[in-house]
């Protein structure tokens, strides 16, 4: 009965959605704010990757909010899962896992940092790189569950990275009277050291995301392993 109703509802909704959507200019949406950004983004922000420009400059507030959400999620997970003494029952991984993880760790670290630092130039950026960083730190934990990660350190890193993001914003606030306005020289479009404070912000984002995701995954894994 419930499924039947659901099917009917979904069908009805799907019908309306399809009918409505296909009246819209699909594939040729109006380009209002986007057009302006495409127009002047390169000059104003100095980032070749306009997505990153949007992310960190034009809509830096969203990114800050998003960082906060991730932070909130991590904090809440910490709250939910509690902070009791961990009893990880998972056995140590086999040789292949351990060796693989040892090999992967530096590789992932480098790739992650690269993606973060080149966020304003090429596809990628703080988030993407941060996720890779998180993976880099999480893989060894998978291999050696008992060792775990130092949550204190993680929280320290994530706190500081977040504070750095805001700090850069506040710096702009006091220097230019506008929160999160890109500072420093724009540099040459396409160069590594360009786009002002964007790489710094990217770095902060990357570190924060990395620390938080790593912390999240480790917490979940620890929770999984704990016997009560």
């Amino acid at each position: 009965m419930r499924n039947l109703a659901a099917v009917l509802f979904i069908g009805g909704l799907g019908f309306f959605l399809f009918v409505l959507f296909f009246r819209l200019p699909l594939g040729a949406p109006p380009l209002v704010a986007g057009a302006a950004i495409l127009e002047e983004g390169g000059e104003t922000v100095g980032a070749a990757n306009l997505v990153t420009a949007v992310l960190l400059a034009y809509r830096g507030m969203d990114t800050l909010g998003e960082l906060s959400i991730l932070f909130a999620a991590a904090t809440a997970v910490g709250l939910v899962l509690g902070r009791r003494q961990l009893v990880v029952s998972d056995p140590e991984g086999g040789f292949i896992l351990r060796a693989g993880s040892d090999l992967l760790f530096p590789l992932l670290l480098v790739v992650g940092l690269y993606v973060i630092l080149h966020g304003h130039l090429t596809p990628g950026g703080g988030f993407q790189g941060g996720v890779i960083l998180a993976a880099a730190f999480f893989v060894p934990v998978l291999a050696r569950p008992r060792r775990g990660l130092d949550h204190g350190l993680l929280s320290f890193v994530e706190g500081l990275a977040g504070a750095a993001f805001i700090g850069i914003g506040l710096w702009a606030l006091f220097a230019r009277d506008a929160f999160l306005e890109p500072l420093l020289g724009k540099g040459v479009l396409g160069h590594l050291f360009s786009a002002g404070t964007l790489p710094l912000l990217s770095m902060a984002v990357g570190l924060k995301v990395g620390a938080e995701l790593a912390g999240l995954m480790t917490s979940l894994m620890e929770a999984e392993g704990r016997e009560s």
Partner: protein, 152 residues
Amino acid sequence: MALDFVSILYIGALGLLLLGTFGLVTTTHLFRLILALALAEAGVNLLLILSGYRGGAQPPILGFGPQDMPMVDPIPQALVLTAIVIGVGVQALAVAAAVRIYRRYGTLDLVALKAHLEGDLARKQGIAPPKSAEKPAGERPLSPVPPRPQEP
């Protein structure tokens, strides 16, 4: 209108959304619900990114392709990035809670969990467990004054 590339993408996005929604409204298993949620979220993210898609345009990276080619709208891309991370955070939290709940109650079925919830709450608040006496909190409304001294 023939089914062009964009339309197929849209159909996919809406389909994902509807599929996820179907899962959300039909299942009562917590973990499946989380998965369905992820599915719906994926659909919406696709929808969002499609809202900036323009046929035949290139990525919004300066110096990436030919100069005069139109570029897609960069804003939705940024938005989607944000939305994905938000989704990750929420799902992580959901999973964490599910883990705790499973440990506490030994089930992930929402029907059972709701029963546990009501029962535990009733015990905590010191009220009659739900669906027992079917009695409202106080008197019936507008009830006649009960022990009247006069004859009925």
